[in-house]
């Protein structure tokens, strides 16, 4: 019996040892796998573990400030307090919110909305209860904090425009990023992040935006932040210094506000700095920064006077008689017209079957170039334009900055229109008609210009340089700010004597009795302006109207059929420094409506200059010797 048991034992021992060996192999396999994971593949898994636990969060940089030329802050970042609730820190969310609603005002559905949001999120995620708390509300919540468990007051930043509507059109505004503007930059995806939507805010958005900082935080599997590992602060955006003079700007707004719809530009003719750019009516850009209401938006969009549009660069108008300097210069430069050559004006000029009227019934008699500007005689320009031809006029207009964007640092600048024969052939498929040259010569017909272009034109006539307007004191790029100091505009390449002749005519307009702009003269020694009025028709005056009722006066017409009133000028006459253009939409007569505004703006600009001696003194160079004629008077318009 025992031997049989010993068989069994031997079998058992053999089999047990085999089993043990098998286990040994399997355990060795486990050890090998451990070696593979923890030594051979360790680096890969370490990276994966860090990717799990480390989360990079963007820290939005403070947006750059914007100031006027003297450093007055016109776009700043205001602390914006909002109140948030964290579910896990509040024993009863609803009760907490009910107590809160007795302390500060909450919207009607706030409690329901917050309860919904809170239920959807993880318990440690804060949910916004209300935005834009006043300081007073913040204090009240703070005092009651013990009764409000789970509530957090958080200070964010939002854009603020202390000047409100005064700079709306040049500054623009910021607003939340729209779906279309997302370009993969994670900064744009941060909740509450805003970017420039118009004006300077849009053009220099990248420079103003700055670079985002990052915060490295350790998070757990649910995304809860455990601790901050590393923090790299971003750089705030560059400060942008505008060329605008806030005081002059405010004054321009005030003067324009007497009109229904108007715009004005004041420029330094030497360096192209825009000192004031105003468009009326205006709006408050602060309404956009925290989300504009639907009603306000609709009322802005549907307003017939287009408050959202910056008419100084987005409005195009037939320049009317302000275009005559251009025609005169084209004549002089072509050598076809000499300044003393006279044209007889009997009140109209016939071409083919058409009769072209001078604004003055009965005519001006014999007129030379000086008088043609001074009296704004239309027949003189009908006459010489036939000899010069539209293409030469257009070339001169282009030289003076018309027909193309000035390149100002604002979005959506319009280029206006200076017609040529080719242009008509290509665009309209028709041949240019001789009569169209006549109409163009008095700045009507196809000719269109923005107020900024007209101001640039005057600046070029006054300075003899190819001035380009701009709104910032320095070059602003996303990489930083560099000075414009070394910049010098090239010569406009028009004979200096010819320019002097035209300036002399403009001087006659406002400083000689019977000049069309005499009423708009500056009667202060050394500050006199030289200008040109323009009244541009927006409707066709039919032969029937002329023959029956006579040409209707503006007051007899509905607003939108009234003439545009324009006036352009530079000052002082003897040593030009400032150029100005004003367009009053459907305002009536150029010299009677727009002229006084130009006069006041140029006076104010010069007063401010003498009140702030030494501030931004431009390199003034005597550029023209103007003969002062004894003033004569003539009432009329051109």
């Amino acid at each position: 019996m025992w031997h049989r048991d010993s068989d069994r034992f031997r079998m058992f021992t053999r089999r047990a040892l085999m089993l043990g060996a098998g286990k040994g192999v399997l355990l060795t396999g486990l050890a090998a796998r451990m070696y593979y994971l923890q030594v051979l593949e360790s680096d890969r898994y370490r990276t994966l573990a860090d990717e799990n636990r480390i989360s990079h969060r963007l820290l939005p940089p403070p947006r750059g400030l914007i100031t006027d030329r003297f450093g007055a802050q016109v776009a700043v970042n205001r602390q914006n307090y909002h109140i948030l609730i964290v579910r896990e820190q509040s024993p009863d969310v609803r009760r907490t919110l009910e107590i809160l609603s007795q302390i500060i005002e909450l919207g009607p559905d706030t409690i329901e909305r917050v309860e919904r949001d809170v239920a959807k999120r993880r318990s440690f995620v804060p949910v916004t209860v209300r935005d834009n708390l006043t300081w007073d509300e913040v204090a009240r919540v703070g005092v009651n904090a013990p009764d409000l468990p789970g509530l957090i007051i958080d200070a964010g930043r939002s854009r603020d425009y202390p000047e409100g509507p005064h700079l709306a059109h040049t500054l623009g505004y910021v607003a939340a990023v729209s779906e279309k503007e997302l370009n993969g930059d994670p900064l744009l995806e941060l909740p509450g992040f805003t970017i420039g939507k118009s004006g300077i805010e849009k053009v220099y958005d990248l420079a103003l935006r700055g670079t985002a900082g990052t915060s490295q935080v350790e998070v757990n599997a649910l995304g809860r932040v455990i601790r901050e590992l590393d923090r790299e602060e971003g750089d705030s955006g560059s400060t942008v210094v505008m060329t605008l003079d806030l005081e002059l700007q405010r004054y321009a707004n005030q003067r324009l506000s007497e009109q229904q719809s108007a715009s004005a530009v004041v420029m330094d003719i030497h360096n192209g700095e825009v000192l004031a750019m105003s468009s009326h009516p205006t709006y408050d850009p602060n309404a956009f920064t925290t989300g504009i209401s639907h009603r306000l938006w609709n009322s802005l969009v549907n307003n017939p006077y287009a408050p959202l549009s910056n008419k100084a660069v987005n409005g195009t108008y037939a320049p009317g008689s302000t275009f005559k300097m251009c025609v005169a210069l084209a004549g002089l430069e072509s050598g076809i017209i000499s300044p003393n050559q006279k044209v007889f004006c009997n009140g109209h000029l016939d071409l083919g079957n058409s009769r072209f009227h001078c604004w003055k019934r009965g005519g001006h008699g014999w007129v030379d170039m000086h008088d043609s500007l001074k009296h704004s005689c239309d027949v003189y320009y009908y006459d010489i334009s036939q000899k010069i031809g539209i293409d030469r006029i257009a070339a001169m207009a282009n030289k003076l900055g018309l027909g193309d964007q000035t390149g100002i640092d604002l979005p959506n600048e319009r280029s206006g229109l200076i017609p040529t024969k080719d242009w008509k052939q290509v665009q309209l498929g028709k041949r240019w008609q001789g009569g169209e040259t006549l109409i163009a010569s008095i700045g009507q017909g196809y000719v269109l210009a923005t107020p900024l272009q007209l101001c640039t034109m005057v600046a070029r006539i006054a300075s003899g340089k190819a001035v380009k307007p701009h709104l910032t004191r320095d070059h602003v790029t996303p990489d930083g700010v560099t000075s414009r100091q070394t910049e010098e505009f090239p010569d406009v390449q028009i004979n200096r004597a010819h320019l002097a002749r035209v300036r002399d005519g403009m001087n006659g307009v406002s400083n000689e009795r019977r000049g069309t702009g005499y009423r708009a003269r500056i009667d202060i020694k050394g500050m006199e302006l030289a200008g040109k009025s323009g009244t541009s028709q927006v409707r066709r005056i039919t032969m029937r109207e002329r023959q029956t009722t006579g040409v209707l006066k503006n007051e007899e017409l509905p607003w939108k059929y009234r003439d545009h009133a324009l006036f352009v000028a530079f000052a002082p006459v003897d040593n030009p420094r400032y150029a100005c253009a004003v367009v009053v939409e459907h305002g009536g007569g150029g010299s009677s409506v727009a002229g006084p505004i130009v006069r006041d703006l140029l006076t104010k600009a010069q007063e401010l200059q003498s009140a702030r001696p030494g501030v931004s003194a431009a390199n003034t160079q005597p550029s023209a010797e103007l003969r002062s004629k004894p003033p004569q008077s003539e009432e009329g318009e051109g």
């Binding site: 019996m1 049989r4 048991d5 068989d7 069994r8 034992f9 079998m11 058992f12 021992t13 089999r15 047990a16 089993l19 043990g20 286990k23 040994g24 399997l26 355990l27 396999g29 486990l30 050890a31 796998r33 451990m34 070696y35 994971l37 923890q38 030594v39 593949e41 360790s42 890969r44 898994y45 370490r46 994966l48 573990a49 860090d50 799990n52 636990r53 350790e218 998070v219 757990n220 599997a221 649910l222 455990i226």
Partner: protein
């Protein structure tokens, strides 16, 4: 009463209580305590440096289990031999009981509430099956082991509880029962081709059995076959576990500094995935050290088996050691992505009272084998084999 035979003076194999305590395998006790100690430390870490809620409770269970283990160890091996079939029968009845109760009640319930303790019949069965099979083969000669008719009863003894457990459904325990039973068959000298036949049949049955698997069980297998397929769903556990282990590197991130574990990327870190946490915090060195301790315990089991003079004891010793090994292997292989995720804890280290009890009870039996190694038991189950 049969037990009366073993009274002092009458039983030549009688070992006095004091001597039994002396004979107790204190080195093994020390190894078990060391492994449990590692478990306490990891549970302390899993709770972010707190004895609550896991470490302290685990220690109490260990204390109770340890006392039970020693009590079982100093109990005469022949008593366990006599109780073998009874305990198997009780375990089987309880398994049927939870099955019926589960059918009546709500879904899968695997335990019976005894008030102070939740008894899982499947755990009891793991031990009882080893005892019952050892008892059965104790009575068989080596020639008997070759007869198929004599192999059918033990085969049913394995398959019945395995089928019941599988119905619960508890794939892990079913596999443990079948593998544990297979080990006893193996030791009894059942021919290799019979194992081959069974294995072949089982493989052929896989496509049929597949239909009976629950969806989550199918998912586990599919996920194992391709974990990257679904990294945020079913594959998440294994992916995170491998990241945790791999990022631990050679020396680990340090005690309580495992980012994967402490930031909750690692699921079930206090139970099934506790080895991962150890690997993350103590690296390859820590993992190998633990593996070495387990290997020592298993080797001890073999030494005890080979030194034992009765077939029952030998089989019980290798049986419980093998069950222990299977726990260790399945758990560690699972967390390292070598086999599908099956709910098998790491013995002595994972949090959980039931498994701790099962393991300590089975070690009690192992030590009882060791203490009573010189007792000879006849194939009839008597101790009078010497006559």
């Amino acid at each position: 009463m049969a037990f009366s035979k073993y009274r002092i003076g009458e039983d030549p194999d009688y070992v006095p209580i004091g001597r039994r305590l002396l004979l107790l395998n204190w080195t093994l006790v020390a190894l078990i305590t060391a492994l449990s100690g590692i478990g306490f430390a990891m549970l302390y870490s899993a709770a972010n440096g707190s004895l609550e809620p896991w470490a302290q409770r685990q220690m109490m269970r260990f204390g109770v289990g340890m006392a039970l283990m020693i009590l079982i160890a100093i109990t005469d091996i022949r008593i366990w031999l006599r109780l073998a079939y009874l305990s198997y029968f009780v375990a089987l009845v309880l398994l049927v009981g939870v099955e019926i109760k589960g059918d009546i009640g709500m879904g899968a319930q695997r335990w019976i509430n005894l008030g102070f303790f939740q008894l899982q019949p499947s755990e009891l069965m793991k031990i009882s099956l080893v005892l019952a099979l050892a008892r059965y083969f104790q009575g068989l000669t080596i020639e008997d082991s070759g007869r198929i008719t004599l192999l059918i009863p033990p085969l049913l003894m394995v398959l019945a509880p395995a089928a019941l457990v599988l119905r619960q459904p508890d794939l892990g325990t079913a596999l443990l029962l079948i593998a544990g039973g297979g080990v006893i068959f193996w030791l009894a000298g059942v021919r290799m081709w019979k194992f081959g036949l069974i294995l072949g049949t089982a493989l052929a049955a896989i496509p049929i059995g597949w239909q009976f698997l629950r969806d989550y069980q199918k998912n586990r297998v599919l996920t194992f076959l391709n974990p990257e397929n679904d990294p945020l769903g079913a594959g998440y556990h294994i992916t995170q576990s491998k990241i945790a282990l791999g990022s631990g590197g050679l020396f680990g991130k340090g005690f309580m500094l495992g980012s994967q574990s402490h930031l909750n990327f690692l699921p079930e870190k206090q139970t099934d995935f506790i080895f991962t946490m150890l690997g993350e915090e103590f690296g390859l060195v820590g993992g190998l050290a633990l593996l070495f301790l387990y290997a020592l315990v298993i080797t001890y089991g073999y030494v005890i088996a080979l030194r034992c003079h009765n077939q029952f004891g030998r089989m019980v010793a290798i049986g419980v050691t093998s069950t222990f090994f299977l726990y260790v292997f399945i758990n560690i292989a699972m967390v390292m992505g070598l086999i599908p995720v099956v709910g098998v804890p790491l013995p002595l280290v994972s949090y959980g009272g039931t498994v701790m009890m099962t393991i300590l009870v089975s070690f009690g039996l192992l030590m009882s084998v060791s203490i009573h190694r010189d007792i000879r038991i006849s194939r009839q189950g008597n101790d009078d084999g010497r006559q």
